[in-house]
């Protein structure tokens, strides 16, 4: 009675996709899951470990300390880059040659590979040959990112701000450019102050791009590895050992595959969880506005 053509071989058509997804996502992830629940002494001999690695990690200070550092780092760079990016965008030329020049200059840091950025700042900040490190010390300001906790943090934060504020600024600039001239004219007629123009016209119109900027910067900074690794190597001590640096130390430095795999899974879950919270808050805000 069914007029549909029934083809037993049809599922072959989805096979390429299945294979691609399997090799690119499912199998690697499952390998990690596999490691997370087993112990090995090499020679491909595995022993079931259950939740032991997870228990160990959750009980140890190591994960919590790295997570704490990571949250503080992401919090600080968001608190600097978002307002600074908006500020820069507000003061960029709106048209003419200079606006193009600004856009190109702003885009430059975004085009530099992570490890090059790290190397630039590593050398820039060195006390013996680096322009920044040498000058600061010559001026009598004690600065040595390999020794001093605060110097290391400030260097890593300034580096990230240097590298990524452009992204926020460019997104905010795009948001600003989409505001029709009539809004500014109406505000002049209404005798709105500069602050009111920002608060009631520019900020609401930039909201969409700013939320994207926050999400992007949060996820990127939460996963940051290369730059601090090149500059401080996670030191001094564990001062700048963020989650991914700690993970690499554990997995490759100590070759603790089991705990590292468990760490990876929890790291992954934390990022998913926080991104989900961001997303939910964002969409809820939108819905509330529409009321």
């Amino acid at each position: 009675m069914s007029s549909k053509t029934h083809n037993e071989k049809a599922w072959f058509l989805v096979l390429p996709v299945l294979i691609l997804v399997a090799f690119s996502a499912v199998i690697p992830l499952m390998t990690v899951v596999n490691y997370a629940f087993q112990d090995t002494f090499g020679n491909n001999q595995f022993f079931w470990a259950g939740l032991e690695w997870f228990d160990d990690l959750l009980d140890s200070d190591r994960l919590w300390a790295a997570l704490g550092r990571q949250l503080v780092f992401s919090g600080i760079i968001l608190a600097i880059e978002i307002p600074l990016g908006i500020f820069v965008a507000l003061h960029m030329p709106k048209k003419g040659v200079w606006s193009s020049v600004c856009l190109v200059l702003m885009a430059l840091p975004l085009l530099i590979p992570w490890n090059v950025v790290g190397t630039i700042w590593q050398i820039f900040g060195r006390v013996d040959i680096g322009l920044l490190g040498y000058t600061l010390n010559a001026l009598g300001i004690e600065y040595n990112y390999t020794q001093d906790f605060y110097a290391a943090w400030i260097t890593v934060i300034v580096m990230d701000v240097w590298h990524w504020t452009s992204l926020v600024a460019l997104l905010a600039y795009a948001g600003l450019r989409s505001i029709p001239q009539a809004f500014y004219q109406a505000a002049r007629i209404d005798q709105a102050s500069r602050w009111a123009v920002f608060r009631f016209i520019e900020l609401p119109k930039m909201k969409g791009v700013l939320l994207i900027a926050i999400l992007l910067r949060f996820m990127d900074s939460f996963m940051i590895y290369t730059e601090p690794f090149v500059v401080t190597g996670g030191g001094p001590g564990n001062a700048t050992t963020f989650l991914s640096i700690d993970l690499v130390k554990m997995a490759l430095g100590q070759f603790d595959l089991g705990p590292a795999a468990a760490f990876s899974l929890m790291y992954f879950l934390v990022i998913m969880l926080i991104s989900w919270v961001f997303y939910t808050v964002m969409t809820n805000l939108d819905r509330e506005d529409a009321k």
Partner: protein, 361 residues
């Protein structure tokens, strides 16, 4: 409230205008009477918004002065000029409630809360949004937003002038009539000087005491709707106003007669000989159809019945001549000629109306 004087005003968007073509707004002298309602009518890009923005102070003119009550305000800001302006597309502050939107211009000027509340109430009533005052402005429909924009423009009582830049473009037709009527009512009640920019002739003619017609950056005529209808000063006014517009025919003028393709057409008055391109213009309302051998020979191409009258579209040596005939007029196949009412034939030389002998120019 103020009388607004434009003194040798001209504007160019180019930094260094060389000749007249570089000017978006050609030199202009005009007084806008205190308390009158004007419509600024013209096609898109004719300079009407430029003129409006110069009056409101959003734009500084390249040349000339602008005076409010004889006081030079050429370089004064919109705030100093104390004007209100409503734009073509709705401008609302999305994050504010409707009520705060309406109150915003008043609060910025430091009015006390009781006064603000009472003004907001009466404006909300006028635009029909009393029940939505507490709601956020975001997510409202375009015409609701435009009503808020209009409300914000009208909320201040002491303005020198109220300027509207095609404010009803996004409003649906039914609401258009209602809001326009309310604007007129407001004008009668408070007597603000109002300038209303539009490209819609009906809107202009029903709103304004005087209509200012602009074409190619120039004011071509300022007059009452009746003057624009009977004596268009420029061929543009002739065909832009009226439906259909004025018929224009190349002609030769000799005294009290015009000759079109060899046919004599009597005129209402005598004219001096004209140089340049000479045309006669006649509104379709004054064109009569005839079948008795007098008048211009034409071929009727089409008859459109629009309900209250019929529009006859005829062809005369490649030029279209339109005539309006009463609904009861019997139109049969014999019509081969049109006759013009001599008193309503206007003469144009190079697009500008020529005054007949004896009429004050």
């Amino acid at each position: 409230m103020a009388k607004i004087t434009l003194d040798n005003l001209a504007h160019s968007y180019l930094p260094d205008p060389q000749n007249e073509d570089d000017f978006a707004l050609k030199e202009l002298n005009h007084d806008w009477d205190d308390g009158a309602a004007y419509a600024l009518l013209g096609a898109s890009g004719c300079g009407k918004s430029t003129l409006l923005n110069i009056i409101s102070g959003l734009l500084q003119p390249t040349r000339g002065r602008i005076l409010f009550n004889e006081q030079d305000v050429t370089y004064a800001s919109p705030v100093e000029r104390n004007i209100a302006q409503v734009f073509q597309f709705p401008v609302v502050y999305d994050t504010m409630s409707v009520q705060d939107n309406l109150a915003f211009p008043l609060r910025n000027r430091g009015h006390d809360a009781a006064y603000v509340a009472s003004r907001v109430q009466s404006i909300a009533k006028m635009i029909g949004m009393e029940d939505q005052l507490k709601r956020k402005a975001q997510g409202l429909t375009a015409d609701a937003k435009q009503k808020i924009s209009l409300g914000r423009g009208m909320v201040r009582e002491d303005v020198n002038a109220l300027l509207f830049d095609e404010p009803l473009t996004v409003i649906d037709p039914h609401m258009k009539w209602e809001l326009r009527t309310q604007l007129k009512g407001l004008h009668h009640e408070f007597g603000h000087t109002m300038i209303y920019v539009t490209h819609d002739q009906t809107e202009a003619l029903t709103f304004a005491d005087k209509v200012v017609v602009m074409h190619g950056g120039r004011v071509v005529q300022i007059g009452t709707p009746r003057e624009l209808f009977e004596r268009p000063a420029h061929t543009f006014v002739g065909y832009f106003i009226g439906s259909p517009g004025m018929n224009l025919l190349d002609a030769k003028i000799e005294g009290q007669s015009a000759y079109v393709e060899g046919t004599e057409i009597p005129l209402g008055a005598a004219y001096a000989p004209q140089a340049g391109r000479v045309q006669i213009g006649i509104r379709p309302e004054f064109v009569r159809l005839s079948s008795d051998g007098a008048g211009l020979p034409v071929r009727v191409r089409r008859i459109e019945d629009v309900g209250r009258h019929k529009i006859v579209r005829a062809d005369f040596f490649g030029t279209e001549i339109n005539a309006i005939a009463g609904e009861e007029t019997r139109l049969d196949g014999d019509i081969s000629r049109v006759v013009f009412d001599p008193a309503n034939v206007n003469v144009y030389a190079d697009d500008w109306r020529v005054a007949p002998n004896g009429e004050a120019a």
